[in-house]
């Protein structure tokens, strides 16, 4: 039923981006959404010393990463003491297998899911379906995306690429819901259908926003209540999360929560903040009998080795970087062809998939810095993009490349061109001679400059360079020469 992201060739970024740009509906849907999210975020931080809060957020995450292996062990100990079973998975397939094995042991055929980007990364739905287990998304956005047999186009708002008409049409086709422009009606219809599914589900699968080592607590942030239903109604709850989601202390959750919801959607807080520390106790009347946590590595431990790339593990998945990204706003989430789109995807996916496959992502940025400016945990996204560009071409002998597939974009011709550029610009004399020549021959300047002049007229070389103008100016003034 669901499309496996494996069927998407990440390298085909250009045609997908081009198609999105030429689709006015997609452009309008994203633009409208992004404009709203940007202004809401701004309002939400109005009363705050945002820069200090971002520093605290970054430091809390750094504190956790600095002791990552110890904290994971502590988390496991606490969870186990609380009665929650802990599993470890090297990669997505191992994680899928763990989930499937739990389902098989419980003879579970129906899985209801809360929103989880790690499960998207694992392609869990696809895996479960192949093993005869129905996996139904219950977050409304994820539900819509699943009905459409698509993947999420945004990590917080999965169906952001669709407008009401498109969703109404889809729900009509797939569920028989009457066509309507009334969002409340469409929402109520989905509620009705999903409530049945909740009642019958054997297992609930959710993600985790923060896992607290100190107390053995899994924290989930959500607005709809589907996360609470997923983690409460079925007799078994399986949470899947990346190993980087651990925080040391319960208090650390406070600044991260304050940053997460405001950065993501401009909310002071989401409707529900759900903190789970154990399965149903003997005297309790609801909640799952079994709770499992699957800790997924999937490339994270590799990123952890590198002093710079490590910063990507601070990410709390708020999506603010994509909300503020002018490239994302133009091409939308699907163009990237990756689980995580937008700026954070551009720096995460190369580690997960290798630079060969993600070759076009690090360059698909004007390095405008909007993502880094809004990141609640101060991930220097633009710097990391530059780092990955360097890795793509093996461009720095002082800092050997590390990411899988490094050097795959290096071309002899391009490297030669840059060596030529270097030769010209490392000598003031050569440069002056070159620019003198260029300005004198400006009449011969071509009017067409490849991709540049597709959308712009060619810039015109000046008659004389600033070097020359300055000399003239200083001669006139009888001023200094340097």
């Amino acid at each position: 039923m669901s499309q496996s992201p494996h069927q998407i060739d990440v390298r085909e970024f250009h045609p997908r981006a081009q198609a999105a740009i030429n689709n006015p509906q997609i452009r309008r849907n994203f633009r409208k959404a992004m404009d709203g999210l940007i202004s809401k975020r701004k309002l939400a931080f109005e009363e705050w010393d945002l820069e200090s809060l971002r520093t605290l957020g970054a430091n809390v995450r750094l504190k956790a990463l600095s002791r990552l292996p110890e904290l994971l062990v502590q988390l496991e100990q606490q969870l186990v003491a609380n009665g929650i079973q802990v599993h470890w998975a090297n990669d997505g397939d191992e994680a899928c297998h763990i989930v499937q094995a739990i389902c098989a042991r419980r003879q579970a055929k129906r899985v209801i899911k809360g929103k989880s980007m790690v499960s998207e990364e694992m392609e869990l739905n696809h895996y479960l379906e192949q093993h005869g287990i129905e996996a139904l998304e219950s977050d409304l956005g994820e539900y819509i995306v699943q009905l459409a047999e698509e993947t999420p186009s945004h990590i917080i708002m999965p169906a952001i690429h669709k407008n009401t008409d498109e969703i109404s049409e889809l729900m009509h086709d797939k569920t028989g819901t009457e066509r309507s422009h009334d969002v409340e009606y469409l929402t109520a219809s989905a509620r009705q259908q999903l409530r049945e599914k909740f009642m019958k589900a054997d297992v609930g699968v959710s993600g985790v926003n923060f896992a607290v080592a100190e107390t053995g607590t899994l924290c989930l942030v959500e607005n709809e209540g589907n996360g609470r239903l997923t983690t409460t109604v079925p007799s078994c709850h399986i949470a899947v999360t990346g190993i980087e989601k651990v925080v040391a202390n319960l208090e650390d959750v406070a600044p991260l929560l304050a940053l997460l919801t405001r950065s993501a959607t401009g909310q002071h807080i989401t409707t529900y903040f759900n903190m789970i520390s154990s399965p149903r106790r003997p005297d309790e009347l609801d909640g799952p009998e079994e709770v499992h946590l699957v800790l997924v590595d999937n490339g994270r431990a590799t990123v952890y080795q590198d002093d710079e790339l490590l910063d990507t593990l601070r990410c709390i998945r708020c999506g603010a970087c994509m909300n503020h990204c002018p490239v994302y706003a133009r091409v939308g989430g699907h163009a990237y062809g990756t689980t995580y789109p937008g700026p954070i995807g551009k720096i995460l996916m190369p580690h997960l998939l290798g630079l060969e496959e993600t070759r076009h992502l690090p360059t698909a940025s004007s390095l405008c810095g909007a993502c880094g400016e809004v990141c609640p945990v101060r991930i220097p996204i633009p710097d990391l993009l530059v780092r990955l560009r360097q890795e793509s071409v093996d461009g720095d002998h002082l800092h050997p490349a590390r990411v899988r597939g490094h050097g795959s974009k290096r071309s002899k011709l391009e490297a030669m061109a840059w060596r030529g550029w270097r030769w010209m610009h490392t000598s003031g004399n050569r440069y002056r001679l070159g620019t003198r020549l260029a300005t004198r021959l400006r009449a011969l300047q071509p009017r067409q400059l490849g991709a540049w002049t597709r959308y712009r007229s060619a810039p015109r070389l000046a008659r004389r360079s600033l070097h020359e103008l300055v000399r003239e100016h200083q001669n006139q003034q009888g001023g200094p020469q340097s």
Partner: protein
């Protein structure tokens, strides 16, 4: 070697500079020195901004207000606790202007369809509120299980104004959460909502469509 050992080994054998935990200065989140009235006013404003409904009541008349709230909504029943003072008071009162009281007295497996389809409203206690975010703190218990605040379309919560904390951080510190967490702890800040269809807000997508908070403000000299 197990996946656990492989992952931990990769992390422990990290190359690169040794990592140091930076100091974490929480002061940006502290010292919201709001007076009780400021806290309540902020709680009200924030919760109402997300479609929550707040009623200030005193201990003598909260049940009257509850009856109003329920009758305007035509609630045919009300799910309430048995041992908490709220449930007890309701049951003792035997008021005719209140709908029949339901009891969550058996495991969910025994009455799932009924809870999902036939309960119109529920009332629960809270462990306090958070002024900054307009949030209720709930630690569900045997008496007030987790789904009580989630499945019925109307959730009514009773909050003692004296238990309003400025921030989440203040609340977890004052109540010593880190010393022991319950099975499930919740912050609830408004009715269930979604904006997944074209950023248009719709309420009650999975949980309650309405959240109504009765804030009990006591006279200065009265005690609980």
């Amino acid at each position: 070697m197990s996946a656990r050992e492989q992952i931990l080994q990769r992390l422990r054998q990290r190359q690169g500079q040794p990592l140091q935990a930076p100091p974490c200065d929480f002061s940006v989140m502290e010292h919201r020195d709001w007076s009780p009235e400021e806290k309540l006013e902020r709680f009200e404003r924030t919760l109402e901004s997300v479609h929550g409904e707040v009623h200030r009541v005193n201990r003598a008349q909260w049940m009257d207000r509850l009856a109003d709230v329920l009758s305007t909504r035509g609630a045919r029943n009300l799910l309430a606790s048995t041992s908490h003072w709220i449930g007890q008071a309701l049951r003792d009162a035997q008021r005719e202007d209140l709908p029949p009281l339901l009891t969550y007295d058996r495991p969910i497996e025994g009455w799932k369809p009924e809870l999902f389809n036939s309960v119109d409203a529920s009332i629960t206690s809270t462990r306090g509120g958070i002024a900054e975010t307009g949030s209720l703190i709930l630690w569900p218990t045997t008496d007030e299980p987790r789904l009580m605040s989630l499945v019925p379309p109307v959730h009514i919560a009773v909050l003692d104004a004296r238990e309003l904390y400025p921030t989440f951080l203040d609340a977890m510190r004052a109540q010593h959460w880190a010393a022991g967490m319950p099975t499930n702890a919740l912050l609830i800040s408004g009715p269930s909502k979604t904006a997944d269809i074209e950023q248009t807000l719709a309420y009650g997508v999975h949980g309650p469509k309405e959240l109504i908070v009765l804030v009990i403000e006591d006279e200065p000299d009265s005690s609980p």
